[in-house]
Amino acid sequence: MNPLHQFQIHKLINLNLFGYDISFTNSSLCMMIVIVALSCLFIAASRKSTLIPTRLQAIVEFSYVMISDMVKENIGKEGKKYIPLIFAIFFFILGGNLLGMVPYSFTYTSHIIVTFGLALGIMTIITIIGFKIHGMHFLKFFVPEGVPSLLVPLVVPIEVISYLSRPLSLAVRLFANMLAGHTMLKVFAGFSITMSCYYCWWVPLLVNIALTGFEIVVAGLQAYVFAILSCLYLNDAINMH
């Protein structure tokens, strides 16, 4: 029983494009399931909107209000047009994390390339927005106010490195949480099987039940943290100090 076996990628359909391997894998299948399920939920909920919301409509409206409040709180009025971006990111990650909690499924957010791709895309968009709004003044971002001119050659590389490290730290945060949590679940499940001949076999099982609940909390929390940090970075680009 290998606890890392759950992260293996299998090819479902072999595809090749100009020498690049773009096979349809179990990871792509899970992403597809999440996107289709979320689209169905949102379309079904908003098709017949009534003044007094039905249960489905209430779920969707609540989630929209949550994201729009988060954006307004962190960015302000200018952030209103970025609500769809944050909304899509949040629900894509939340869907992936929660789908990973279903037995025999696959957690695509536990692969660093997926989270890094998301984070790099967001930071590229944010940098483009920053340059579009402020023009070349955006480069002042790397020179904090009140720094003595003697220290500028030292501070600028530090600020540039910490700006460039943002996608990696966003990606690693989500990836490490999902990887560690799911590995721990499998390790404790393995304990309860190897201890099955002793009378205390139920101890790791109870721990595992608690960990499953904990993992569901982590799934929501990490999606939230990813979205809120994207908001904070977007705020840095839009409202420069």
Binding site: E73, I161, L164, S165, S169, V172, R173, N177
Partner: protein
């Protein structure tokens, strides 16, 4: 319960993940510095100099970021 948590300020909510934030910061900033150094080295053919300098700058940047984050919240 959930409604109550929503009312908290944003910094309050992020306090839960400070340990993880520090961990990721300590990992990702020096690694980014290292890769920038590697890129510059390959560009100017000055192998280990930029790598070492940017790695050390990355460590400084990581601690500086952690210091700023903790100063803002406590």
């Amino acid at each position: 319960m959930k409604q109550k948590n929503q009312k908290k300020s944003e910094s309050e909510k992020l306090k839960m993940g400070h340990g993880i934030n520090i961990m990721t910061e300590l990992f990702s900033v020096p690694v980014t510095g290292f890769f920038i150094g590697l890129f510059l080295d390959n560009h100017f053919e000055t192998k280990p100099i930029c790598m070492i300098v940017f790695f050390i700058l990355g460590i400084i940047a990581a601690f500086w970021n952690i210091f700023k984050m903790l100063k803002k919240n406590y």
